[in-house]
């Protein structure tokens, strides 16, 4: 029986050899080791075999350890990306028994990885999340054209009728709120996506994850040309202005390594995450 290895190879990401090689090692201060194979460089660390083991019912300590590893994974890739490298992030927890097994993998899929790296070159990922302040959003609906006939009627109504019309308007607003929110978000999303190369719609998370008491109503990830970043950010700011006037708060995060874009998308496949 083969002895288990004392160290495993943890893979952070792949980079094009020519980019890694273009920076002198002494100046680069890479936070990782490299394993080279033809045109690819794999950014790795050597870790104890038990580093990612957890119990079936993980303890708080184990979960905290995993969270630290998530930060560790992200931080190494971010550092490489921040140095201008094109990175193809691997999924967190990708482990190899040996350099040899990693090289075998690279040899088998070298062309596919090279194509994705080419696609990602000069592009950055950003996150756009929108949170709703419901009372402000409802207030903004008061003047919505959908309620114009009711508003006109209310202006001339007697006190008794006015009460009934107010109730009717409240019910209508409740009925239409989701539909109008969707419409507002769709318009904003179109503006935010704008010139992005690709985009994905993420899951909506609750306060438990976000720490934000306001409900998340939109979660987009976008891949943007580095050269168009400033221009694109301007259009996002304009969208944010419009959303803010309706009680919708936009938070932009990034630039991130392209975690959401590790496959070359078909033109029309920027769809919600599975």
């Amino acid at each position: 029986m083969t002895e288990p290895p004392t160290r495993l190879i943890y893979l952070f990401c792949l980079c094009p050899s020519e980019e890694v090689g273009s920076v002198p090692a002494a100046e680069a201060g890479w936070p990782v080791e490299w394993v080279a194979h033809e045109g690819l460089m794999a950014a790795i660390a050597r870790i104890p075999p038990t580093s990612f083991d957890v119990s079936e019912q993980p303890s708080a300590q184990e979960l905290s350890g995993l969270a630290q590893k998530a930060l560790w994974h992200d931080q190494q890739i971010q550092q490489l990306s921040a140095q201008g490298l094109t990175v193809l992030p691997s999924r967190m927890g990708t482990l190899f028994r040996s350099e040899e097994s990693l090289r075998q993998l690279l040899a088998g899929q070298q062309e596919a990885f090279g194509q994705v790296l080419q696609f990602l070159k000069g592009r950055l990922e950003f996150g756009c999340k929108v949170y709703m302040e419901e009372p402000l959003f409802q207030e903004s609906l008061q003047a919505h054209p959908a309620f114009a006939p009711l508003n006109a009627e209310m202006e001339t109504a007697s006190p008794g009728k006015l009460y009934l019309l107010r109730k009717k308007k409240e019910q209508e607003m409740k009925r239409l709120q989701d539909q109008l929110l969707e419409q507002v978000l769709q318009e904003a999303a179109t503006e935010i996506i704008g010139p992005a190369v690709a985009w994905k719609q993420g899951k909506l998370h609750g306060e438990q994850l976000t720490g934000n008491p306001l409900p998340m109503v939109l979660n987009l990830s976008l891949l943007v040309e580095r050269q168009q970043q400033a221009e694109w950010q301007q259009s996002v700011e304009q969208a944010a202005e419009r959303l803010a006037a309706q009680g919708l708060h936009l938070v932009l995060s990034g630039p991130w390594p392209p975690y959401h874009f590790t496959q070359i998308p078909e033109p029309e496949t920027s769809t919600p995450e599975a």
Partner: protein
């Protein structure tokens, strides 16, 4: 005038933001892996953490997690 857009640089992102970006993302590489399968509810975030997989981890499960050797943060 104060901008309505809040910008959060990635290096200052919270753990929850990082988890939202990286869990279940990144290229899935299959090959001769050691594999570690973990299907865990991160209690504080409700996300499911699915760590990459393959064979042979069965013999390595149940051991305490140890820190990676290359910890960037103290």
């Amino acid at each position: 005038m104060k901008s309505s857009l809040e910008i959060l640089p990635a290096r200052e992102a919270t753990l929850s933001e990082v988890l939202d970006r990286i869990l279940d993302k990144g290229v899935v590489i299959s090959g001769d892996l050691i594999l570690s399968v973990a299907d865990i509810d991160l209690v504080y975030c409700g996300l499911r953490l699915v760590i990459c997989s393959v064979d042979k981890l069965g013999e390595m499960t149940g051991v305490n997690t140890t820190e990676p050797t290359n910890q960037p943060r103290p």
